[in-house]
Each structure stands twice: as C-alpha cells, then as structure tokens.
C-alpha cells in the first residue's frame, strides 16, 4: 500500500550488496585511494575516522544539526589531531527524503559501511531508538564502538520491567558490549513525567497517546505504569497513525472525556506538533506533556507557538542548555559565538559523545577498535566534556551514563523555560 516504503526497501536492498562488495576487497571506501599502508594494518595510516549516523533529512534536522556542530566542536578542541592520529569525521544521514525521517535500511547500510571501513574507530548515533535496534547488532558483531547521543529506550542496554523479554540480548549477537550512551534512559524520564503530572500539574485524569514506535510507545507505557502507581485515572490510551494529517476526530473524542492532561509519547517527527495544534482546534484546554523527542525548536514551529505557550510541557534528559554552569555554560557560550544561534538540547550530547571517544583515543593512542572500545566503556569520573560538572560521570555496567537527570520545561513565548529538574 505504501509505495514509498516499498521503493525505499528496494533501494536499500541493493545498498548492502554494494557495501560488502567494496569491503570484501579490503580497500577503503569513499575512494580515498587506500594509500601505501601495506602490511597488516589496512586503511589510511595515521588517520582515525569517526562517523555519525543521524537523521539529517526531515524535521529532525534542526536537532541533528546541533548534534553535528557539537561533534565538530569537540574535534576542534584537539585541533583535529589526537595523539599520533589525524581525526576525520563523516556526517552520515540515516533518513531518506521519501520517508522524511529515519529509515531502517539506511541506518543498517550506514552501520555496514562503517564496519567495512578500517579507518572507522567509532560510530556516533543513532538519534532514534528504533534505528538503534537496526544498527546495534551489525556493529556488535564487528566489535565497533557505538555511542549514542540521544537514544533513550531502556531495553537497548538493560533488563527492566516493561522491556521485551529478549532485550537487550538480541542487540548483542557477539555476546559482548559495544554500545553506550551519554543520555539517561526512559525508565527515568517516563515515570518522572508522571510524578510531574501529579505533583505540579495536579492532574487526576490523563489521556495517553503514543506514536507506536519503540521510543514513543515505550515511554507511554512507562508513564502509564507510574500513573497507575500514583492512582491517576487513565481515561484513554491509544496509538496514533503517524501518517495521518490531522486528528480532529480524535481530539473531539478526547475533549468529550475531559482529561486534565494529554500525554504524547512520540517525537516532533511523529506528529507531536499536529497533536498539540489539533487539541487547541478541538477546544481542549488542558496541558500536553511530551518527552525529549519534542524538545526542539521544530516542535514549537510546527505546532505554532501560540498553540503551546503556557500549556505545553516537554521533558528532556539532563539539563536545558540555559541551566548549565561551568564547562557546560562555557560550551553554550562558545556555541552561540560560533554558530550565531542557541544550541538545541542535544548539542551537548553530541559534544559529549565525541569528547568521550576522543579522550579514549588519546589515552590508547592506537588505531585499534578493541582497545578504544574497552577504554570508552571503562570511562569513569569523566569531566572533560560539558555535562559532567565537578564530579564528572561515567558509564555503568550496561553502558548507560551514571548522570541521571531529567528536566521538564514549559513553552513560554515560543521558547522552552525549565520548570523542574530531578536528579536520581
């Protein structure tokens, strides 16, 4: 029925074949010419490549632009050279214009391309939890380090209540760990949003919507669990069709049930803006609460600031850039000077990802995937980046950050204004 998906799938089926064909010859991709490396170490001598795979087409572009800027700023901190190696960076897109957002086959092809390039020592990304499901097994088999700035679904790294029974083992076919992330997970974000709904918004009756993706549906489930513990009444809980263009009928139904709050588990790309807009259109005056997938200017722009001001609450893992002190504040200042705009919330995590990788390369000073991976996973008390503060942060046994913070902001005058931060 969906001819675009079909064509995308057909195109993507052809891509891995090309990639493996290229990798099999032992040459480097991108036509760099291979150079005179010779001997055992393939690839270009003296060069380490870091790649990122993020949705660079579609409405997530505003957010991923700032992640990429963050990565580039981190590389510039070292003057593009770490230890004995020149750092090259490739900014890959895991989205297609036809789908307007991340695309499984493209993410998979990116992972395969990274594995096949002997210069690639770290894979930064992806941005979407569902995309991580696709690239994680590929990179795991190859033992290539993967650091994500933004994926928050807990099941990718740990077994907790609410994740699928075969998670996270199914993402680790090689039975080793190679994935870590610098943002905290939804098992914190979802429940804390419910606490916020009960304590600050004084909601008694909530209506839950989700976008039927791993991230959005998962968050909605975790939010619901906590609501039930808090004895909030769930007046409705359903998925939306993200291909739909408007939700007038749905919002009229929700208005009839008269909830105190609508929770939307989803992203700007899965119609967060339209949901908020149609709520106003149907005369629903209660607030909307959304997770970090909507914490970006594109969300405000697509919904129209007038529809959100004072009634849209959005949570973010970590802190809003305006709340940072010390190195974080310094980063925001430098960012503004360099790019003439304020960074989106995930710019920090792009910077942090690249920093943690580059520091590890500096320590290891070898072009060795395994050694770099080991060094990154062993990160403790990391203060070189922007988010760590004085004590710093590290990766726990699952590869998750020890920095467990969530902030909830409200939209005022078309901007996010932090309202409450919880540290756990």
């Amino acid at each position: 029925m969906n001819r675009r998906k079909f064509l995308g799938a057909a195109a993507a089926a052809a891509v891995p074949a090309l990639v493996t064909g290229c990798g099999g010859g032992g040459s480097t991709d991108d036509g760099k010419g291979g150079g005179g490396g010779g001997g055992a170490a393939p690839g270009t001598p003296g060069v380490i490549r870091i790649v990122s795979s993020l949705p660079r087409t579609g409405s997530a572009k505003g957010q991923t632009n700032t992640i990429v800027n963050g990565i580039q700023m981190a590389i510039e901190d070292y003057g593009g050279k770490v230890g004995d190696f020149k750092i090259e960076y490739s900014d890959w897109d895991d989205a297609t214009a036809a789908s307007g957002s991340w695309d499984g086959p493209t993410e998979k092809a990116n992972a395969q391309k990274a594995v096949a390039d002997p210069d690639v020592m770290a894979y930064i990304g992806p941005y979407n939890s569902n995309a991580a499901k696709v690239s994680m097994p590929e990179l795991n088999e190859a033992g290539l380090l993967q650091v994500s700035p933004a994926v928050t679904w807990p099941g990718l790294t740990k077994k907790i209540k609410g994740v699928a029974p075969d998670e996270p083992e199914k993402y680790r076919p090689a039975k080793k760990k190679n994935f870590c992330r610098v943002c905290t997970t939804d098992d914190l974000q979802g429940p804390l949003a419910a606490d916020f709904a009960a304590e600050v918004l004084k909601a008694k009756r909530v209506y839950i919507l989700n976008d039927k993706e791993l991230y959005g549906e998962g968050l909605a489930k975790l939010f619901r669990q906590r609501c039930e513990e808090l004895k909030l009444e769930i007046v409705g809980d359903e998925g939306i069709n993200t291909t739909s263009i408007e939700f007038g009928g749905l919002m009229t139904k929700i208005k009839g049930l008269n909830p105190d709050l609508v929770y939307f588990g989803g992203t700007t790309q899965s119609k967060g803006g339209q949901v908020a807009k149609d709520m106003v259109g149907a005369g629903l005056t209660c607030p909307i609460l959304a997770p970090d997938g909507c914490y970006e200017q594109a969300f405000i722009d697509s919904a129209g600031a007038a529809n959100l001001n004072g009634r849209a609450y959005v949570s973010i893992v970590g802190l809003d850039p305006s709340q940072l002190t010390g190195k974080g504040a310094e980063f925001v200042k430098r960012y503004k000077e360099k790019y003439k705009t304020a960074p989106e919330a995930f710019a920090l995590y792009g910077y942090e990802c690249a920093k943690v990788v580059l520091e590890a390369i500096k320590k290891v000073n070898k072009k060795d995937r395994e050694a770099i991976l080991k060094e990154v996973l062993a990160t403790k008390n990391f203060t070189a980046g922007a988010v760590g503060g004085a004590e710093g942060w590290g990766f726990d046994n699952n590869g998750d950050t020890t920095l467990r913070q969530v902030t909830i902001s409200v939209v005022e005058n078309g901007k996010f204004v932090p309202k409450k931060t919880v540290t756990k």
Binding site: G58, K61, I245, E246
Partner: protein, 316 residues
C-alpha cells in the same frame, strides 16, 4: 435515525459527523482531479496528490509575500480576507498550469503507448514534485497561517460550528455544483463526456480531443489548487509529505465512488471522511486507516466498479 444513533453513541456524535463531512469534502475535491483524468484518458495520475501539495506551498508563499504570514507561517493579522481570495486565485491557476504542462510534456507523447508507461511516468512525476517541494520549503512540517478564526459560533449547541467549517462548505459545495453544471450543460462539458465514451468517435465528430484533454487536466489541477488552499486554511499545517497520504485517500475515494464518475468521487470522499472521523472516535485512532481500506475492499467485492461506477462499464 440520527437521533437514536446519537443517544447510543454519545453527544459528540454530531460533531464527528461534521468533522467527517468537512474533511470528506476536501478529499472529494482532490478525488475529482483523479476521476476526471481517469475518465478521459484512463490514466491514474499519481502525481495529483503532490500537485495538491505544491498548490498549498504556493498559497503559503503568497501569504508570506503579501505580508499576511511571517516566514514561519504565523498569521500577522494583516488583510486576511484579501489574502484568502488571492490564494484562491493563485493556487488553482498555478496547479492548472502545472498540470497541463505535465500532460503536454510527459503524458502526451505516451498517449498511444501501453497503459503502464504513463502510469509509471505519473509515479515519476510524483517524486519530482515531492523533491521540488523539499527544495522549495524544506522537509519540516510548516505552519499555515491561521487566517480563518476557529472560535465556536454555536456555544452550547450540539454541534460546535466555526468559521473554518463554514469556509470549507462555502468553497467546496459551489465548486462541485459548478463542475456538475459545466460537465452536463456546456459544449466543452459535452465534448468531455463524448471523449470519455469513445475518443475515436469523438474525433470523427469534429471534437478536438487534445484540447478536451488539456481542459480536463486544467480543471482537475484547478480543483486540486482550490483544495490546497482550503486544506491549508482548515488544517494549518502543510508539508512536503502531505500529498502522498491525502492523495491516497482521495484516490481511494475516487475508486470507492466509481472511478471516472464525478458524483461518485464526491460520495466516496464523504464516505472516507466519515469513516475516518467515526472510526477514530469509536474504533480507535490507530485502526481508522485500516478501516477505510477494509471498507473499500468490501464495497469493491460487491460492486467492482464502485458505488456509482456502472457507467465505466465500456472502458475495458
């Protein structure tokens, strides 16, 4: 009967009917573009949905140019009514011109080729249009200025009616009546029907078939342009992907009503609008899309030519 249904289904039932009717009329307006072209040259013009999308982009561009909207599509409050009228002229003219051009350049050389060739070309044109849309406005969902207020005009009544609903009804219904009158009573309309029935015979009777085909593309494109403006003003969001989903619904509406049949397209559009709205309310938002296609399949099993599609019998 409606009252007893409303008692059973709750007081918002009438509101769902209104929403369904309004969105259904929008689908119908786009469906007319599919059905008219199919009626004349048996081409499913897959690019029609994306033509509609480009029409809405042009309308947004016009609003920005005349200062009725900011660059991010927020209404500035200036000159709403003249802007709407200007959009209602500019977008249909633009879409009609574009549609005729595409016919001349792409479909006309393939007029005597096997049916699949123009069909595949239409899919190609659809992608080209989509990429033009990306190039023009980017890949973000855009705000379309709120030039029509949506305050409730009937507080306390069973149906909450606002200016947006009135606007959709006030634009789409006269356009559809005018189209029906045109096709039934004018000489060009008669020529269209004659060409639809038998192009060769029509040519032998002195009808300039190429002119008739061009006129059909112009009218179909123009209706798509009207729909684009009304849709933007009603929904306040446009984006380069909207042509696909809306086009799919509209195409389904055309098939449901009997492709090639003008009243059938309108009926099909309204049915789809109602199924979408009532399905979302009583079955669940996530099932509403599946429901539309389930109903399509059931109807096609019993009436393979669509609800009003008996007249297309000779086009085998």
């Amino acid at each position: 009967m409606l009252d007893s249904l409303a008692t059973a289904l709750g007081p918002a039932f009438y509101q769902y009917l209104l929403i369904g009717l309004v969105t259904g009329l929008l689908y119908a307006l786009i469906a007319l573009g599919y059905t008219m072209v199919y009626g004349i040259i048996e081409l499913i013009n897959f690019a029609h949905g994306d033509l509609f999308m480009l029409g809405s982009f042009l309308a947004l561009q016009v609003a920005i140019w005349v200062g009725a909207a900011t660059a991010t599509g927020e209404a500035t409050g200036a000159a709403a009514l003249p802007t709407i009228l200007l959009m209602l002229v500019a977008a249909p003219v633009f879409c009609a011109g574009l549609n005729v051009t595409v016919d001349r350049v792409v479909y006309k050389p393939l007029r005597n080729a096997p049916k699949l060739a123009p069909l595949v070309s239409a899919i190609g044109v659809s992608f080209i249009f989509m990429n033009i849309g990306v190039f023009w406005m980017g890949t973000y969902d855009l705000n379309f200025p709120k030039l029509v207020p949506q305050d409730n005009l009937t507080p306390g009544a069973r149906i909450a009616l606002n200016y947006k609903h009135i606007m959709v009804l006030a634009v789409t219904l006269p356009v559809m009546v005018a189209l029906t009158v045109f096709v039934r009573y004018t000489s060009l309309g008669k020529a269209m029907r004659a060409t639809a029935q038998n192009p060769t015979a029509a040519q032998l009777m002195g009808i300039n078939v190429d002119r008739v085909i061009a006129a059909t593309f112009a009218i179909g494109g123009g209706l798509g342009g009207v729909a684009a403006v009304v849709y933007g003003l009603y929904n306040n969001t446009v984006g380069y992907m909207m042509g696909f989903q809306t086009g799919l619904y509209a195409f389904t509406a055309a098939v449901l009503g009997g492709i090639g049949n003008i009243p059938g397209a309108v009926l099909g559009g309204i049915i789809i609008g109602l199924v979408r709205s009532l399905g979302s309310a009583y079955v669940g938002e996530q099932w509403s899309e599946a429901l539309i296609f389930a109903i399509l399949i059931v109807i096609l099993i019993f009436r393979p030519n669509g609800i009003l599609g008996a007249r297309t019998r000779e086009k085998v």
